[in-house]
């Protein structure tokens, strides 16, 4: 009797699994036009389960724990490289990706630094890490010649101290902040030398009393609401804050500047975990995203540049024409990339970061 019941239950479970094919996607928060999710479901008949995260660390922990249950995940290049080494991904079956030809070779070549031969991942979006400023308030405090496009705005304690009461947020991502601090010091931002990285401590400890919060997602709203004056954050997030403020018509004017000293260029890559329950569906999702119009819709919504050449003709003028999103050839030269730290250096970096954040 019991076994018969079990068989029935199992059969029912199988039947329902077959009836509703699912793809589970784990992407960054505020990172897609949600209309695209419904469109994917309508076109393919696959049920899409879309979850979000706001730090690479959270994603990596889920991947390395194994059995995350996700079919598509979106790590940043540096993390992708390490996760590939840990065996977390499966190679893409490019024969299932009809739109693969739409990709932009310039970006694919740069992203190959993290994924040799582009075997495991496709670029979703890319951008820079820079400075978001509440123009009115910053100029009110620092005067009209405030260095709004320089790392000195944040990393020079004289400026940070004056801006502290108004509020400075910084990404809670040592992988982004430490290279920028090195750049501010005139060092190699991609340094893998513990002694060089240690130099950032004095700078960061000098400005930490003036930083209100280290967080990687709250600054969008905080900037848009006028709760803070300055954020060191990701380009598209700050541009979203700019647009939310404009929509709310609350008198807050937000501007994004890639630091003139040089900005970190990062790549968010879509990949399929090695234990993805539905790798077939994952490929369908990747192909859907690589469709030129879909990719353009996503970029038009989130204000990030993408790695899809064919999508460029569908991009809105305020996206493709905005040098903060699609930098000029010349500005591209001023961008740098970063390699992952090894385990030992990672611990040094995190410890440094904890010290910076907590003062201990």
């Amino acid at each position: 009797m019991t076994s018969k019941l079990l068989t029935t239950v199992a059969a029912l479970a199988l039947a329902s699994a077959a009836a509703a094919e699912e793809v589970r996607v784990y992407n960054w928060s505020d990172y897609i036009d949600e209309a695209l999710l419904a469109k994917f479901e309508a076109e393919t008949g696959i049920k899409l389960i879309y979850d979000v995260f706001d730090s690479n660390e959270v994603l990596e922990t889920k991947l390395l724990a194994g059995g995350s249950g996700y079919d598509v995940v979106v790590p940043t290049g540096t993390f992708l490289q390490r996760q590939i080494a840990a065996g977390a991904f499966q190679k893409l079956d490019k024969s299932k990706l009809a739109n693969y030809g739409n990709l932009w070779d310039v970006i694919s070549e740069r992203a190959a630094k993290y994924d040799a031969g582009n075997e495991y991942a496709i670029n979703y979006m890319w951008g820079t890490t820079g400075i978001g400023v509440n123009v009115g308030k910053v100029k009110e405090i620092l005067g009209d010649d405030a260095p709004v496009d320089s790392l000195a705005l944040i990393f020079d304690p004289a400026n940070a101290e004056k801006l502290a009461a108004c509020g400075i947020h910084m990404l809670d991502a040592p992988d982004e902040v430490i290279p920028a601090t090195l750049k501010f010091l005139g060092e190699d931002p991609d340094s893998q030398d513990a002694a060089v990285i240690a130099k950032t401590e004095a700078v960061l400890m000098g400005v930490r009393p003036h930083i209100q919060k280290f967080n990687s997602s709250e600054y969008i709203n905080a900037l848009a609401n006028g709760d803070i004056c300055v954020a060191f954050g990701w380009s598209g997030d700050i541009l979203q804050a700019r647009d939310r403020a404009a929509e709310a018509n609350n008198g807050v004017e937000i501007e994004y500047n890639a630091p003139k000293e040089g900005a970190l260029m990062w790549f968010d890559m879509m990949a399929i975990p090695v234990d993805a329950p539905n790798a077939e569906g994952a490929h369908k999702f990747l192909d859907f995203i690589m469709n030129a119009e879909n990719m353009a819709a996503a970029s038009n919504y989130v204000y990030y540049a993408n790695g899809n050449k064919a999508s460029q003709e569908f991009l809105a003028e305020d996206v493709i024409g905005d040098p903060a999103i699609y930098p000029s050839e010349e500005a591209l030269q001023n961008l740098y990339t970063k390699s992952p730290y090894d385990t030992k250096l990672q611990r040094t970096v995190t410890r440094l970061w904890t010290k910076v954040k907590s003062g201990t």
């Binding site: 730090s55 991947l63 390395l64 840990a86 065996g87 995190t350 904890t354 907590s358 201990t360």
Partner: protein
């Protein structure tokens, strides 16, 4: 035999829900990190039988616990958490006792309604309630706007992202756990004792200190433990409401686990946290037991 099986049920429960997870964490705390899935080594390979088990055993060591003593961060974080938990518990007691007292003094027909009001917040997700405090406490939030409108302050108060916001969050979240046990102790309090005290020349205030407080002590102790224990390991409230200077062991644990990908050290932090918590938990159990025995 029947008695044995009755007794064994809670122990079985404890074994499944506490001891087994604890042993897994303890085992990881004795391992080393690795770039793999899962990110630590060694993992137990049962297919190799006894030899595999021996090889596995020989690779375990206490290195990570030694590491915790070498860096001031960890004990500072434990101390800071103890301090935050202790202050929050005191505040919750100061706010919770008068509420519980008021409920116990209220007419009988009001009590279910008052009880309902205390429990009502649980109907909304804890996370949403903590998030809504961001809207209340932020620089442009309701509280500041209200105070500015009243003219009490000229410039917005900076509460959000400070320890004060963490205290507010913890006291708010755990207040019902303080109120309910105190209320249940006060409710049982025999009113004739107070009348007798007054007949014998006690003032009302004196009677309160000599009779009400001692008789409600089991409730106060239970309430304090119920607030203190979860507050000590609290992670969500300090990370949402607290600023960067709020050092708590829950956040340190998170960083070990997520930023360093160092599951072994994270597990060692958790094991030590548990060791710290065991003392108040045992005291709490004793208090409960005493109360039960007194109840007989």
């Amino acid at each position: 035999m029947r008695k044995f099986s009755l007794v064994s049920v809670p122990y079985f429960w404890l074994l499944i829900l506490f001891l087994v997870p604890f042993l897994i964490v303890l085992k990881i705390s004795l391992s080393d990190t690795a770039l793999a899935i899962p990110p630590y080594t060694p993992t137990l390979d049962l297919s190799e039988g006894w030899a595999g088990f021996k090889a596995f055993w020989s690779e375990l060591d206490f290195e990570n616990f030694v590491f915790l003593t070498e860096d001031a961060l960890y004990w500072k974080a434990y101390l800071s958490s103890l301090q935050i938990a202790a202050i929050s518990t005191t505040l919750a007691l100061l706010v919770g006792f008068p509420i519980a007292y008021g409920m116990a003094q209220a007419p009988d027909e009001w009590r279910p309604t008052l009880m309902m009001l205390v429990i009502l917040p649980f109907w909304t997700s804890f996370l949403i309630r903590v998030y809504s405090w961001i809207g209340i406490l932020s620089t442009e939030g309701f509280l500041n706007q209200f105070l500015l409108w009243l003219g009490v302050i000229d410039a917005p108060l900076i509460i959000m992202n400070t320890k004060i916001a963490v205290y507010i969050g913890i006291v708010y979240t755990y207040l019902p756990f303080m109120i309910l046990p105190i209320y249940s102790a006060l409710e049982k309090l025999d009113g004739s004792l107070l009348e007798a005290a007054e007949d014998l020349g006690c003032t009302r205030t004196k009677a309160f200190w000599l009779i009400t407080i001692p008789l409600s002590r089991p409730g106060i102790i239970a309430g304090c433990f119920l607030v203190f224990i979860p507050a000590l390991g609290e992670f969500v409230i300090p990370s949402l409401l607290g600023g960067s200077e709020t050092l708590m062991i829950g956040k340190v644990l998170w960083e070990e686990f997520f930023n360093n990908r160092d599951w072994p050290v994270a597990s060692a932090v958790a094991v030590v946290l548990l060791a710290i918590l065991i003392i108040p938990i045992i005291l709490f159990q004793r208090n409960e037991q005493k109360q039960r025995e007194a109840g007989k």
